[in-house]
């Protein structure tokens, strides 16, 4: 019993790091631009398909594919920003909502048209098997994915805190008018924020494809999961985001281990609702 639980917790924490990475994208977009991108989960789905296509065509391992999907998603994010998001900034909130929900539906439909309904997976990964820590089994692919996720989360934190572009993003997040006075061109800062947030899904997509398959409707799950993580974490705390990712991952994993795997999101939503009810600003956030 306890051993199964610990096993579940290990799996959950590792998975949670990928959730934290996905949520980081949604967090910087929401935090800096005050834009809710409802299509974020579908960006993950799209990235997973891209990883599938490139991995199959080039005979690459899933973990390598972000080398190409990262720049592709950066450009995709820029296009979506200038084509859609930039035009909704000064509009009613409902316009923004319709735009990103519409994008979500469009992406899902496009995936259905291109790849049909059946799930796709990459055939082979050179990251195989598992290893043992204190008698507990750890899947190597999950472990590698968690480590890479943490590295990229740290890289984004460094970017936000140590570069001029990152400072502009933080300043725009705090006070757009004051940032404009300093000479920050917010269209450009927002475009970079959106592109970066989108490109993080490319990393996550590649990592996910190293141990699971993708299907056209899978995006909605990642979208909801990342919202749960963000709601738990609150805005502006990277350690909080990692902790929240772990909590969500563990909740999901324990639900699968002990209850019904079909309802794997049930425990996650229960926590989500509880946190929104008791601490609407998140467990670790500032705003």
């Amino acid at each position: 019993m306890t051993e199964t639980a610990i096993q579940g917790i290990i799996t959950g924490v590792l998975m949670g790091m990928i959730y934290a990475l996905i949520a980081l994208g949604i967090s910087i977009i929401f935090g800096v631009m005050n834009v809710v991108n409802f299509a974020h989960g579908d960006f993950v789905m799209f990235s997973m398909y891209l990883s599938y296509v490139l991995g199959t065509a080039l005979v690459w391992d899933a973990v390598q594919t972000p080398l190409l999907t990262f720049p592709i998603l950066l450009i995709f994010g820029l296009i979506v920003y200038y084509l859609i998001i930039d035009r909704t900034l000064r509009q009613l909130y409902v316009v923004q909502l319709a735009a990103t929900v519409g994008l979500q539906i469009m992406m899902r439909a496009a995936a259905l048209v291109i790849w049909r309904g059946q799930p796709r997976a990459l055939q082979y990964s050179f990251i195989q098997g598992n290893f043992e820590i204190f008698g507990f089994q750890v899947l190597t692919s999950r472990f590698v994915a968690a480590v890479i996720s943490l590295i990229f989360i740290a890289a984004v934190a460094y970017f936000m805190n140590k570069t001029w572009a990152g400072a502009a993003m933080r300043a725009a997040s705090d006070d757009l008018d004051a940032a404009t006075l300093m000479g920050v061109n917010y269209h450009r800062t927002y475009a970079l924020t959106f592109a970066l947030g989108s490109a993080l899904t490319a990393i996550a997509g590649g990592l996910l494809m190293s141990f699971q398959q993708t299907d056209p409707v899978g995006g909605i799950r990642f979208g909801f999961l990342s919202w749960c993580v963000l709601a738990l974490a609150g805005l502006g705390s990277i350690p909080g985001l990692i902790a929240a990712g772990a909590i969500v991952g563990v909740a999901e994993s324990l639900q699968v281990t002990f209850f019904n795997p079909q309802g794997r999101l049930l425990a996650v939503y229960a926590i989500f609702i509880l946190v929104l009810w008791l601490k609407p600003r998140g467990l670790f956030g500032r705003k």
Binding site: D174, D175, D177, M182, R286
Partner: protein, 233 residues
Amino acid sequence: MQVKGLHSGYGKVPILHDVSFHIDERETVAVIGPNGAGKSTLLKTIAGLVKLTSGELYFDGHNITGTSPDQLVRLGIALVPEGGRPFANMSVIDNLRMGAYSKREVLKTGVLDELFEIFPRLKERAKQMARTLSGGERQMLAIARGLVSRPKMIMLDEPSLGLAPNLVDEIYEKICALRNELGLTVLLIEQNTNYALELASRCYVLENGRIVMEGSSAEMSGSEHIKKHYLGL
């Protein structure tokens, strides 16, 4: 600095009507007027935050009509907005660095050390988040942030707003010392007419989006209109 026939407003709501005035180099000019007269809009229009509908702006011999905020910083104009508005979730030092965002080379000139000498309290709190500062410290931070880019002209929007009287004295002493030390041109907007008249050599009165009076501070202090409506005498 010269403003000619400026009209400006938000969307379809006109705020400023045919506003013209000038500030000489190293002069301190105050614009006073009641709440809602368009004082803040005037500064925001000069700083490029609000688009003007017609009129022309000149600074240092350049036509700066419609220039973007980053170019204005490079030309040497800085605005300290109403309430200071430092970046609350950034540290004091990061706030100051943001002041150099459009003119990064100034950071190599030791400007931060100079400002820390003038504002020792900001140095003590360099690593603290701006949101943890007191009201007076925030205003100091905002002024310092405006000065990082080594502007020729600084525009101050109600630096006394919301501060206790002893803090207002302190802020104005600092502004006065800075102006004299750095040879700044100052455009001051203030509801607190006493302070404005004391700091400025000349003064314009803005009412309902129009300039209704102008003159030296001494003339203004003697004017019946000013005495009655602004100084409460």
